[in-house]
Symmetry: C2
């Protein structure tokens, strides 16, 4: 293939992906389901944050699609808590895309209006490039990852509608520099709010939930 042909192929993949993402989003909108694409590094605290939000909104119906390369550890955890969840295993692929999400969204019986969390593959790079049918992107970043992440992985921070800084109880042990972190984000994204949370104690999730209620 020549380079121009390669670029055409990539362009086609993005366009086809966006078309299917829009289809998913619109069909879920019709049944009153609001879709949140949860992105972040491995171990940032994506599942724990989802669980904390679900616990703080007892009035709401929740559905979860868990994306993992392999394993169903998180789906088992969610089901044990009585949460309606399905597992996608990508068998190597580094992000979710719209076609796979569309396929699995059909496997959940979304009989009531509510919120669908789609937990993306733990990866601060590739998921940010693909729409999967979401209304908003929620970026989860832990203090243990260090305060330089917005500078090194700008796209995820740029595309986020809401940012959760997790594991705030570890701040003092990891020399987390709040000003540097926030300055990095402000240079990329002037609108996304940043909420500081601790999934172990539930601290900070009240504010997250208020924001979701207002913005859904």
């Amino acid at each position: 293939m020549t380079n121009i042909e390669k670029i055409d192929v990539v362009q086609d993949i993005y366009e086809e992906n966006d078309r299917i993402a829009l289809e998913t989003k619109e069909s879920l909108e019709k049944v009153g389901v609001f879709v949140i694409n949860v992105m972040g590094s491995p171990g940032a605290g994506k599942t724990s944050s989802i669980i904390n939000i679900i616990r703080s909104m007892p009035e709401e119906s929740f559905y979860v699609i868990e994306g993992d390369i392999e394993s169903d550890i998180d789906t088992i955890k969610l089901k044990e808590l009585g949460i309606n969840a399905v597992q996608i295993n990508t068998n190597g692929a580094c992000h979710l895309d719209a076609p796979i999400v569309q396929k699995y969204a059909k496997k959940i019986d979304m009989d009531k209006p509510g919120i669908l969390f789609i937990e993306n593959i733990g990866n601060l790079v590739c998921p940010a490039e693909f729409r999967i049918g979401e209304h908003i992107k929620m970026l989860i970043c832990s203090t243990a990852e260090g305060s330089d992440k917005p500078y090194k992985y700008p796209l995820a921070f740029e595309k986020a509608n809401i940012i959760l800084l997790t594991k705030c109880d570890l701040k003092e042990f990891v020399d987390f520099d709040d000003d540097f972190f926030r300055k990095g984000i402000k240079g990329l994204n002037k609108t996304a709010p940043i909420f500081e949370v601790n999934a172990k104690t539930g601290e900070g999730f009240k504010e997250v939930v208020e924001w979701i209620r207002k913005n859904r």
Copy 2:
């Protein structure tokens, strides 16, 4: 393109990549340079581990290629410590590949035999799929990421020749389950040693350095 044509293209990319990786490895071997591909999640402690190893081997000459999507934060840090480092910015790409490493390896004046660290993009998925000219792969995983990482991101653990478990001072705060972590790795990789380290105090790096001396 049909599916068969797509598979052919992917196959060609891997084969061409491996050919160039071998070329890089052999040309560096000729001048006595041992190459370590350092992989791990964002904020796992890759740069801090490299710095600790360099400090613990004063007899050795070191060279570093820093891979980042954007920014040169780590290269500046290394240069301030007098370490011979060059920066690769991939501008979005989620891993280093052999062609880009070959190009940048030529930019470092490796005038003495020694060790070249290539710090890959912070990503526990994609870098594991690409040879870049390394003799060994060093996987850096932090306790803050959680003990389930081998189950969720098996390829990186399977391909590693040596594994460093970093931020061991945080173990007690993050409920890290040692047995579960080690059991996950043993199911994928029976030969790679696992070293527990703390980059803040330098604890554990003596053993890492002994292993490198024996295995280079």
